[in-house]
Structure formats: C-alpha cells, structure tokens
C-alpha cells in the first residue's frame, strides 16, 4: 500500500511529469512543443530512476535523452518543417488507435497488478554499484563483448547517419 512519505510524493510528481509529458507529445499539433513535452517526460523518467536508487542511470538519462536525443529531434523538426499550411495531426485510423492503445494499457495494468502486487525490494543496492559496473564493462568475466560490440554499433550508426543525411 501507499503511504504518505517524501518518496511517494516525489514519485507522484515525477509520474505526473512523465505521463503528462507523454500525453503532450501525442496530442500537440506543434511539433516543437511536442519535442518540449518529450523533454518533460524524459526528465520525469530521470526522476523515477533517482527514486529507484539508480542515480547513474538518471544522469545518463539527462545527458543522453534530455541533452542529446531531444536536441536531435528538435533539429529534425526544424529541418523538415513545412514552410506554410497547417496539417492534420492524426490520420484516419486514430479512433481505432485510441481503442487499441487503451485496451493495451488496461490489459498491461491488470496484468501488472495481478502479478506484482505490493512487492518490496528484496535487498539494498550495493554501495559500489558503479565500480562493479566499470569492472563488468572492461573485463571478460563481465560484459566485455557487448561493450566492444556497442562501439561497432555506434560506428555503424555514425557512418550510416552521415551517408544517409548528407548532400549527395
């Protein structure tokens, strides 16, 4: 059950940011405003990471999502902006989409409440969590191969986006 505490109050504020921002993203007509709502939503997620005792992920969230991906999206909005004329926000199938996503949300919530009702953490987060992470990334007992593959992925993304978006 939920009790009144600083944690639960900040949880609700951050959840409000997240969901309100998400609704703003899908309902706003102006795409620049939608990008700003996206920033709000992602910031709320960062707050939730703090409450989940993963401050490192919160920092990454602010650094990568709020700082970089939203900038990229804003630039794309500006590059691809139509110079005149208002366009419709939604396509013809939006009522079906609303029904499908509403059912999906209701189903997921029902499933979650039935399966994971009122679970509390089984243990505390280790204090040296980030040290463990650093060790896991660069040693072969940990996640060395995914770590190196991530660099290849970033290389592919870099070259791909240059080739695709450059002037021919």
């Amino acid at each position: 059950m939920l009790t009144f505490s600083p944690v639960s109050v900040s949880f609700f504020i951050m959840a409000l940011f997240t969901i309100g921002g998400g609704l703003g993203v899908v309902t706003t007509r102006n795409l620049v405003h939608a990008a700003l709502f996206l920033v709000l939503s992602l910031f709320g997620i960062a707050g939730l990471y703090v409450l989940l005792e993963a401050p490192y992920l919160a920092v990454i969230q602010v650094l990568v999502y709020v700082g970089a991906i939203s900038i990229l999206i804003t630039i794309t909005v500006m590059v691809t902006r139509r110079l005149m004329g208002i366009e419709e926000t939604y396509n013809r199938q939006w009522p079906i989409a609303a029904i499908i996503s509403g059912l999906l949300g209701a189903g997921l919530i029902a499933l979650v409440v039935a399966q994971f009702g009122a679970l509390t953490p089984v243990a505390d987060v280790p204090v040296d969590n980030i040290e463990q992470l650093g060790r896991a990334f660069v040693t072969h007992q940990g996640f060395l191969l995914p770590f190196e593959v991530a660099s290849v992925l970033l290389l592919a993304a870099m070259i791909g986006s240059i080739v695709i978006s450059r002037d021919v």
């Binding site: 970089a68 590059v79 970033l154």
Partner: protein, 119 residues
C-alpha cells in the same frame, strides 16, 4: 532510502519552476497588451518584412548533433571505467583502447568526408 540527499535538487527544481512561472505570468498580467498590425509584424530593422520569417534549417546542424550524440553515448560507457582506471591496469586500458579505436575510425571517416566543414 537516501532520498534526503536529493533535497537541495528538489528545492532548486521547485524554485526554478515557480520563478519561471512567475516571470511569465507577471509580464502577462501587468504588461499592457495593445496589439496593432505594425506591432505584430516581424521586426526587420524598419524595413517592411518580405517572405516568411521561418527558413529551412541547414542539415549541417544535424550532422554535428549526430556526432555529439554518439560521443555522448561513448561517455556513458567510459564513465564507470574512469572510476577504476588504476585498479584495472593494463588489461582495462587495452579493452577500452579497442573501444575507442573503433569509434575513432568513425570520427576519421566523418572528418575525411568533410561532414565537419562549414564552408
């Protein structure tokens, strides 16, 4: 729960939100608002404005932003390592060097392609 540690950040956030709302709404409420067609038109140093003020944005900005985002992601992988540089020694240095070399290849490619040139 160590939530109390974040109290200064919460206070900062609250002050920032409240202050920005105050600034926006004070000027909305207190300032006179008597629009005329001349006042609402874009200001171009006294000339009559011609054409839409909204221009298309060059794609160059996008390429720079892509570079930024990818090296940003690189930081999130190297930050945990940086705490234990001494501890991990040569082994860690080699594995991180492989990671960095692969990314540097992309950087050199972009440089040679001229994506960074601004003419």
């Amino acid at each position: 729960m160590l939530i109390e540690q974040y109290l200064p950040i919460a206070i900062l956030l609250a002050i920032a939100i409240v202050l920005s709302l105050i600034v926006v709404f004070i000027s909305r409420i207190m300032g006179p608002f008597r629009p005329t067609a001349k006042k609402l038109s874009p200001y171009e140093s006294g000339m009559t404005p011609m054409g839409p003020a909204v221009r298309r944005f060059p794609v160059k900005f996008y390429l720079v932003a892509v570079l930024f985002i990818l090296f940003d992601v690189e930081v999130i992988f190297l930050l945990p390592y940086s705490i234990l540089v001494q501890d991990l020694g040569v082994y860690g240095l080699i594995t991180v060097s492989i990671f960095l070399t692969v990314l540097t290849i992309g950087f050199i490619y972009e440089w040679k392609k001229g994506a960074l040139e601004w003419e």
